[in-house]
Subunit: 209 residues, 2 copies
DNA sequence: ACCTGAACACCGTTCAAGT
DNA sequence: ACCTGAACACCGTTCAAGT
């Protein structure tokens, strides 16, 4: 049960330096935000020199993008599972997607910040990120379209209704992670209650009257 | 009409270095994000040495916090104006608050990011920021309470309904500013349309049935 | 009171050299 | 193929010294 996060003393090769660096990034972001992450500190925690990361990542941003990609690769199956779990109820599927998204963000704050935050300077350099992002959004759009076909949601562009829903859950999670809710005097419990109520209010507004 | 942003050549005193540094910060954040802002570059643009800013700000974070404070000092009057403009219609006041918030964010992206983003490492060091933040939130809560008294919104904790509304507009603005909407394939026009529709859907959900 | 110049510790990144 | 050590340009911050 060797610790894969640190190089064995005296060993020349690391084992899985790529993994260890990504884990160090997640830890550092959790500890002190994305600004608090430095390549040198990540290398130090993995027990290698400051130059070693450049064998595995082209630069600092490339490492962060790899963590973001890992995040999408965790989120998308969770969203799919939420849909599968509610095969019979199209409205429940939409609510389930929202809850799964929120749960993912709260459980994976470092990943979430890198996936959706302003920290990746050149997203064009990582096209796979955009593709994964779009795929999640398409799941939501399709769930909304399905509910419309069943006559349970009001008419309107599914894409637009999806974007409204996304803005709500995205705003909820990121303002929570940024500490805005705490600043406004909400406890974690209250914040959670509001998330559920928020989804309820919005769904009510989207519902067929 | 002297350029207050640069020190006159040969002049020893600057004139208003504090202002010039804050303006440089706004510009740098707009150009390359908060990560792209450096104290040294701001000082360079103001025409002073790298140590000069420390006469006016205790450190880098203090300068950024000053810009955030300036942002709240612009936002709050805009919110108040939105309320005054719709004295007679409590529902219009809520919608007006949302639109004013969105308009502020789109027009003052650098300020908005610093006010609500994760970039200020120690917000406790700047208590006035939390106060101003809360004041804006109280405006929204009161508008909601008023609409409830008039029987136009469903019952429920105004604070909680305000938080839901805040999450929606906050999510809309910050995902727009972070480029997420563009990534999802929405044009600026579409994004704007969705903002309006989003407010409509949510208000509909909050309305008394 | 306000600013400069030099200094320190730190960072991202490169590159020749080691195993 | 993978990593080290030294180097470079840059950054935040401090401090003695200048005006």
């Amino acid at each position: 049960m060797a610790d894969v996060n640190k190089k064995q003393k005296g060993q020349y090769h690391h084992g899985d330096l790529r993994r260890a660096l990504m884990q160090a990034a997640v830890d550092l972001v959790a500890e002190s935000g994305v600004e608090g992450f430095t390549l040198r500190e990540a290398a130090k925690r993995a027990g290698v020199s400051a130059a070693a990361p450049y064998r595995h990542f082209s630069d600092r941003a490339d490492l962060l993008a790899a963590v973001a990609t890992e995040g999408f690769n965790r989120l998308l199956p969770a969203l799919q599972a939420a849909i599968d779990r509610t095969e019979d109820d199209s409205m429940a599927a939409i609510a389930g997607l929202g809850l799964a998204f929120v749960e993912f963000g709260v459980s994976n704050p470092s990943h979430f910040k890198l996936m959706y935050g302003p920290h990746l300077p050149d997203r064009a350099a990582h096209p796979e990120l955009g593709d994964l992002d779009l795929e999640g959004f398409r799941m939501l759009s399709q769930a909304i379209a399905r509910a419309q076909e069943e006559g349970r949601l009001t008419t309107g562009e599914p894409r637009q209704m999806a974007l409204v829903s996304f803005a709500l859950v995205y705003g909820a999670v990121s303002s929570y992670l940024d500490g805005e809710m705490t600043r406004l005097g909400f406890s974690t419990r209250e914040a959670q209650a509001m998330l559920e109520a928020g989804g309820f209010y919005l769904l009510r507004g989207l519902a067929r009257s």
